[in-house]
């Protein structure tokens, strides 16, 4: 029954649409308005369900190229997850340790992890770029970035 990718995707979308719709029915009503806040969400919920059904019954017209795009080797999936993990760490540490240090460490380690071999260029870029950006934002644009544990 779930032979094609479209059918699987449409079921996921159907679930999202239904969840969204259930929440739409829980939006509290506001008596003094002609059109309440839940009208658009309900419409969108039904629309998504309708479109998912259409997607389910429609013929799969994917090209081979599109199918090949989903064929990601396991090792590469791991790579993507590690990069996502590094980003997550960056976000967690940004306000604690400060922009300059976290950014420098991020650029160096992320480039290194992805296979960049030149230590010197990597080091120079990962130190000079955050410092320049920090100065530009705080001095020129007057936007303060987290200074963190550095005293300036």
């Amino acid at each position: 029954m779930l032979k094609t990718v479209n059918k699987k995707v449409s079921l996921v979308l159907l679930a999202i649409g239904t969840g969204y719709l259930i929440l739409a029915y829980q939006i509290p009503s506001y008596p003094y308005t002609q059109i309440d806040a839940d009208v658009i969400p309900k419409t969108l919920g039904y629309l998504l369900i309708f479109l998912s059904v259409l997607l389910f019954i429609s013929k799969d017209s994917e090209t081979e190229e599109q199918k090949a795009r989903r064929n990601i080797p396991k090792k590469e999936v791991g790579m993507l997850l590690v990069v996502a993990g590094l980003i997550l760490l960056y976000i967690i540490l940004l306000e604690i340790i400060g922009f300059v240090l976290v950014t420098a460490v991020f650029i160096y380690s992320c480039s290194r992890f992805l296979g960049y071999k030149s230590h010197i260029t990597n080091g120079v870029v990962s130190i000079s770029l955050p410092v320049l950006m920090y100065l530009m934002f705080t001095e020129l644009l007057k936007i303060s970035l987290p200074s963190g544990i550095l005293p300036f």
Binding site: V5, V9, L13, L23, I27, P28, S29, Y30, T33, Q34, I35, D36, A37, V39, I40, P41, L44, L47, L48, L51, S52, L55, S58, S61, E62, Q66, R69, R70, E76, M79, V83, A84, I87, L88, Y90, I91, I92, L94, E95, T103, F106, I107, C110, S111, R112, F113, L114, G115, Y116, T121, N122, V125, S126, L129, P130, F137, L141, K142, I143, L145
Partner: protein, 495 residues
């Protein structure tokens, strides 16, 4: 204010040292970002937005316009040199630009691209200057029903014109609209989909969506392709000189496609991509020697390059005069206007003439800069393409994160950015186009407002959309924009 007085005001705004410097900066930054693989005008505009804080809005917007067409031009450079069009608007450029580069005539190809971009850009700015005020004065009488219908047309048009499945494009648009319902409903004050999270009360910032769906999703693709070494085979640029014969060959496509490209750009949903393909196909059809197309034809390169730049200015017509973007890129541009506290639309021309005309006037200057900056500097710019992929990936991630953080100062938005990066990547894997998503996200709030205003006027009667002549005509048009492709598909199947 007439066009002539207006454009004088515009030149007064655009012709001072500060504005000129920022146009230069915008064009320069746009070209470099646009050149990077996968990063197009949307990412370029989004990344540059934090830079505009604290700037005078008219100067800031002039700079953003520079970023926009700089990015389009930058995309052509990577299309010609690497056969790696950064954005879909420059795919057709690679058809003849890349073969030309392979023949050792990369410099010539880049010069043709620069000159035809300049001509397309300049001619269409003149048309923009003439058409936008007219449309503005018509649109000033539009009520909420007409606006509602106009936005519906914009959304259906982009969905029916995007590549691949129309159903998927519509789903993408509905999803974008769903995301914009998160937050406090501005009309009733009711909380929707906030799950008690304070950070969601104001809804999600458009930068989170734009940078997530476009820049971060592209990072994932770049990670997978990081070992691609094609950029190492960068050809020697060679001479930039064009012969009289080249100019003669270019003149036909340039003059035709400036107009055609502009018109396509004005239409909702269609933009640089469609304009460049139509230009390529139509020039091939009328050419005396169509067999040269695809093998490094001068005409085949000049046509899409003229058209995509003409369409870029054309897309400013609905944006400036109606306040309604017709494409993903102009939607992000609208976001930039709103961040700076400027509401484009029919009132812009009368209330903020210095911005309305300043942006238009700056395009003349920007186009000239594109030509004089880029022609001699192309060989140096091209070095940007040699940035090692791992380093490029780290830098794109950092620029996206700082772009979002400098707007919200809140790490919550960074988590959301990461989430939308993942969503954007999944959408790519399953061939759901992202432009309808961002357009719906930006139009969603306005669309809901105009719908509710209309229905409040009519006491809940839906007939208001049909009795109003403008809105009924526009709604019929949006219906047709679906019926036609469907008929085409059915015919294809039968055939």
């Amino acid at each position: 204010m007439g066009s002539i007085e207006g454009i004088i005001t515009g030149f007064q705004t655009a012709f001072n040292i500060e504005s000129i410097l920022f146009v230069m900066l915008g064009v320069f930054a746009g070209t470099i970002i646009g050149m990077l693989p996968g990063l197009g005008p949307i990412s370029a505009i989004a990344v540059m937005i934090p830079m505009t804080f604290g700037m005078d809005p008219s100067v800031a917007l002039i700079m953003m316009a520079g970023v926009y067409y700089g990015a389009i031009f930058g995309g052509s450079t990577s299309a010609i040199l690497l056969n790696a069009p950064g954005v879909s608007g420059t795919v057709a450029t690679a058809f003849d630009g890349y073969p030309m580069a392979q023949q050792g005539k990369a410099g010539k190809a880049l010069a043709i691209a620069a000159i035809s971009s300049f001509v397309g850009g300049t001619v269409s700015v003149i048309l923009l200057m003439l058409l936008a005020p007219i449309l503005s004065s018509v649109a000033i009488s539009f009520g909420p029903p007409a606006y509602f219908a106009l936005m519906v047309l914009g959304l259906t048009a982009i969905a029916s014109l995007s590549e691949g499945s129309t159903i998927k494009a519509l789903i993408s648009a509905v999803a974008g609209f769903m995301v914009v319902t998160i937050g406090i409903d501005p009309q009733s004050g009711t909380q929707r989909y906030t799950f008690g999270n304070v950070n969601l009360l104001e809804g999600l910032d458009f930068l989170v969506i734009a940078l997530g769906l476009f820049a971060l999703a592209e990072v994932c693709t770049l990670v997978l392709k990081r070992k691609d070494q094609s950029f190492r085979n960068l050809h020697n640029i060679g001479s930039l000189k064009l012969t009289k014969k080249d100019f003669k060959e270019m003149s036909g496509p340039m003059s035709r496609q400036s107009f055609l490209g502009f018109l396509i750009g004005v239409l909702p949903g269609a933009g640089a991509t469609i304009a460049s393909f139509i230009a390529y196909i139509s020039e091939k059809k009328i050419a005396k020697n169509p067999e040269e197309f695809g093998k490094g034809s001068v005409k085949g390169l000049a046509a899409p390059e003229t058209a995509n730049n003409a369409a870029t200015s054309g897309a400013f017509v609905p944006l400036l005069s109606l306040g309604i973007p017709g494409s993903g890129t102009t939607a992000v541009m609208l976001g930039a206007f709103l961040v700076l506290g400027v509401q484009p639309g029919p009132m812009l021309m009368t209330e903020r003439p210095e911005i309305f005309w300043g942006v238009i006037a700056s395009m003349y200057i920007g186009n000239i800069f594109l030509l004089i900056l880029n022609l001699p500097l192309i060989p140096y710019f091209a070095k940007v393409l040699k940035i090692p992929r791992p380093l490029l990936i780290s830098l794109v991630i950092i620029f996206s994160m700082i772009g979002v953080y400098a707007v919200s100062f809140n790490t919550f938005d960074l988590y959301m950015l990461l989430l939308f990066g993942v969503i954007g990547f999944i959408m790519r894997l399953f061939a759901f186009p992202a432009p309808p998503f961002i357009l719906a996200f930006i139009l969603g709030g306005m669309l809901e407002q105009s719908l509710r205003q209309s229905l409040t006027i009519s006491n809940g009667d839906l007939m208001i959309f049909l009795t109003n002549p403008i809105s009924s005509a526009l709604l019929i048009l949006s219906l047709l924009s679906f019926v036609f492709p469907l008929i085409g598909q059915i015919r294809k199947r039968k055939g």
